[in-house]
């Protein structure tokens, strides 16, 4: 086995202490900022995972005392659940795939030296850090974190007396999310301007890697949806502190206390509309970059062009547009005009079309490819698998009559953990294994550990979240901390809950393998050389000093280039225009 030797240039790369200094610096360099986002998300995901472990343990073992935490009361469970959801949705899946890998790679992939507004980029990062710190603070203030879930439905979230966490903790949540919105908006502006203005010569829109397309569409979604969330939390804050009643109806009684509101006609539904107008695009913000990564890696490791590149682009765009028209599917049981229910249900089913197009194109790309089974490919295939499994329950939940039963049960928990949680995380893993050399001085992660990590995570993910469908079908409510002492039909589900917890522990343990591999490879990983995966895109191209990058090829030119004198089975985007594939090579 040939070990790539380190060239003199590589020796000069920063070592681990250098990385720490890099992460704590106020740099305006896009790669550093990408890394900083990545580590922010890493901290968030570890915390979110720890919280999920506590929740899972508590469900089957309520008497368990966890050191430092003491007794877990129902409201503690709900507070942890809220923080788990918030950390995972905002600080992991809206941060790492977009801001993390986007910053790391977007300029490199389009042949720009920097983002369009480097200083603004640094500001977005540190604003996100501030938002993160404020969010964590909510765990430590008196009363603890809010308990109304990451969706924070009023009236409970608007009323201090409703729960212990609804005092300062809730305010910190609101402030943190507002700051997060602001940071994300700045980031999105930067991504859009960079993609539109700083592409290298020859990098036409239809030559952009699908990763770039996915960051581009995601940025548009952020721009259009986070502003709405900002408006929504502003009104919520006003209801809490300035005596307005945007969301507060008359005649509220909470915990036996009558809540006086100045005006009678406020509507909790208003929040739901505003929140889900943001919330549904948000799930695409979480998953679109993962789709981009998957398309990219599937093509690279099948040594084939992306099947129907244009269809991939257009399906992403149509998912982006349709994503704004379906928010009502979260509100079927909230009370809505039946005609709207019909419309939202139908439009939701329509989204299955572009999603199906993407899935079929991934499979089409794999089909007949000369597949290289590397860890990044395994995780990409895992992504497709989870996306299908989670995606199939989407159209089920989109049936208003079915949703009436399944709403607020574990079925929903299963659905979104499959399609958003696990699929999103799988794409992140794939990206980490694949672009590790770009993050840490041309080093690669270990493949054997990678495979162990993949199989444990893949089996763990299914074993943890698939049974939750059955819990939901049996009517087990979501956001529910106590099984003992509850209704009999729920108590009967304890064995299944125990099974899930055991597998959740396996799933979480698997991540230790990843962490070990990750930190070990930072110092000891094999050197990758310039282009370890025989990839085509510009981040792997090494121009000679002073040489300008000019793009001459599409992003996924794999095939037979012998006739034009190349021994390789791919051309890089910046390769000479005279390299063309063999006309007899008929693979798509």
């Amino acid at each position: 086995m040939s070990q790539p030797k380190s060239s003199p240039a590589q020796v000069a790369h920063p070592s681990s202490p250098g990385i720490l200094r890099q992460i704590l610096s106020f740099s305006t360099d896009h790669k550093t900022i990408g890394l900083q986002y990545f580590f922010l998300s890493l901290i968030a995901v570890l915390l979110g995972m720890a919280l999920s472990l506590i929740m899972r343990l508590h469900i089957i073992w309520p008497q368990l005392r966890i050191p430092l935490l003491g007794e877990i009361k129902p409201e503690t469970y709900l507070a942890f659940m809220t923080m788990h959801g918030t950390l995972m949705v905002f600080f992991v899946l809206s941060t790492a795939p977009q801001s993390g890998f986007g910053n790391l790679l977007l300029p490199s992939q389009i042949g720009a030296k920097q983002m369009a507004f480097p200083v603004l980029n640094m500001l977005s990062l540190w604003t996100t850090v501030v938002s993160f710190v404020v969010m964590l603070a909510a765990l430590f203030v008196t009363g603890g974190a809010p308990i109304s879930g990451w969706t924070q439905y009023p009236p409970l979230s608007a009323i201090e007396a409703a729960a212990p966490g609804n005092g300062l903790g809730m305010d910190l949540w609101i402030v943190s999310i507002a700051v997060f919105c602001f940071a994300s908006l700045m980031g999105a502006i930067n991504f859009l301007a960079t993609t539109l203005r700083l592409r290298a010569k020859g990098m036409s829109l239809m030559r952009m890697p699908l990763t770039v397309w996915s960051w581009f569409v995601t940025s548009m979604l952020i721009l259009l949806s986070f502003s709405v969330l900002l408006a929504a939390v502003l009104l919520l804050f006003s209801d809490r502190h300035w005596g307005t009643s945007f969301y507060l109806p008359a005649g509220l009684v909470v915990n036996g206390i009558a809540i006086a509101t100045k005006n009678a006609g406020g509507s909790p539904l208003l929040w739901q509309h505003l929140f889900w107008f943001f919330g549904h695009p948000e799930v695409y913000i979480a998953i679109l970059p993962g789709m981009g990564v998957t398309s990219h890696l599937i093509s690279t490791f099948s040594r084939k062009r992306v099947f129907a590149y244009r269809a991939m682009v257009y399906s992403m765009l149509s998912i982006g547009v349709l994503g704004f028209l379906v928010w009502g599917h979260h509100m079927f049981v909230a009370g809505m005009n039946p005609n709207y229910v019909m419309a939202f249900s139908t439009l939701t089913l329509v989204i299955a079309v572009p999603s199906g197009v993407k899935t079929i194109n991934w499979l089409g790309t794999l089909w007949g490819g000369r597949i290289r089974f590397t860890t990044p490919l395994l995780f990409s295939v895992g992504f497709i698998s989870l996306f299908i499994t989670g995606g199939l329950t989407g159209p089920i939940l989109a049936q208003p009559e079915v949703d009436r039963y399944l709403h607020d049960t574990y079925f929903v928990v299963a659905h979104f953990h499959m399609i958003m949680g696990m699929a999103g995380v799988f794409a992140l893993f794939a990206a980490t294994y694949f672009w590790f050399p770009k993050m840490f001085a041309d080093r690669l992660m270990n493949e054997s550990f990678g495979r162990i990590h993949f199989w444990m995570t893949f089996i763990g993910a299914y074993a943890t979240f698939l049974p939750m469908h059955f819990l939901g079908m049996a009517g087990h409510p979501r956001r529910y901390s106590q099984i003992q002492g509850s209704a009999e039909y729920i108590q009967k589900l304890l064995p299944l809950q125990t099974f899930i917890t055991v597998w959740a522990i396996v799933l979480i343990t698997a991540q230790l393998v990843f962490l070990f591999n990750f930190f070990r490879s930072m110092r000891l990983g094999k050197f990758s050389g310039a282009n370890p995966w025989d990839s085509t895109t510009l981040e792997w191209a090494v121009p000679k000093p002073g040489q300008k990058i000019v793009v001459n090829h599409g992003p996924y030119e794999f095939g037979d280039f012998q006739s034009s004198g190349s021994q390789r089975d791919f051309v890089m985007q910046s390769d000479s225009p005279f390299l063309t594939s063999n006309p007899s090579d008929t693979r798509p």
């Binding site: 030797k5 282009n531 225009p577």
Partner: protein, 251 residues
């Protein structure tokens, strides 16, 4: 493992990684006097490259700002028409009370529109061909002297608008109308308050443009500062007109 090592081997084969394959590289395209802006792929792509980039940035920021107000508007319109059923009498009650706007808002509106005009003058001055040419020829910085007074005027008018808004709020207070009084007043204060905050941001941008001008920074920087704050200012003016029409005519 054999598979992974074969994927990695590419890096070893090419000890010194090259751009491009075996084919000849693209011949350089040489333009006249280095002004072939098209061939500067990674750097500048023309004298206005930076300006256009900043314009795009501010345009996108404005999109997101407008969406905040669209969200508030839709809430406004829905709230206006909804009521609740009184649990005791069974009556359907719509509690929205139309708000009579303070008259001073008309004055403020005119002030803001005029300020937009003066801002446009400031913006045009930094791009005026004869003045820019003089600067290129090293004959002083005439665009500054031409644009700074207009910038100052805009700042004064903008401050007058903000002070006028404060007067409008005070008038409502004196009528006993506060943020929480009625849904209509809640929305009034939310919309006008959010607009005032955004306009204050515009004032900061104007001061930045003025500072850049006073400090005689390079022409391009002055052009960008003035141009970008001008577009932001116009948008805030338009936004105000929209809010005013909404509050005045959709009650």
């Amino acid at each position: 493992m054999s598979k992974s090592s074969s994927t990695i081997s590419h890096g070893t084969k090419e000890a010194e990684p090259k751009l491009g394959g075996r084919g000849p590289s693209v011949p350089p395209i040489v333009g006249w006097g280095g002004d072939d802006w098209d061939n500067r792929p990674q750097g500048r792509r023309g004298p206005r490259e930076r300006l256009h980039r900043y314009r795009l940035g501010i345009g996108l920021a404005l999109v997101s700002i407008f969406i905040i107000f669209i969200a508030l508007t839709s809430a406004y319109i829905v709230r206006m028409g909804t009521g609740h059923v009184d649990t005791i009498t069974g009556d359907y009650i719509v509690d929205w009370k139309p708000l009579t706007l303070p008259g001073i808002l008309w004055v403020n509106t005119i002030l803001l529109i005029v300020s937009s005009v003066s801002m446009e003058f400031a913006r045009r001055q930094v791009f005026r061909e004869p003045l820019v040419t003089e600067e290129w020829l090293g004959m002083g910085t005439p665009t500054r002297t031409a644009s700074l007074p207009w910038l100052g005027t805009t700042l004064v008018l903008g401050s007058a608008f903000l002070i006028g808004q404060v007067f409008a709020w005070r008038e409502l207070y004196s009528r006993g109308v506060f943020l929480a009084t009625n849904p209509s007043s809640s929305f009034f204060f939310m919309l006008t308050g959010a607009h005032a905050i955004h306009l204050t941001g515009g004032m900061v941008a104007l001061m930045w443009a003025a500072t850049v001008g006073i400090m005689a920074r390079p022409l391009e920087t002055r052009q960008i500062a003035t141009d970008v704050s001008a577009w932001y200012w116009h948008a805030m003016g338009a936004l105000w007109v929209y809010i005013f029409i909404l509050l005045r005519f959709v009650r």
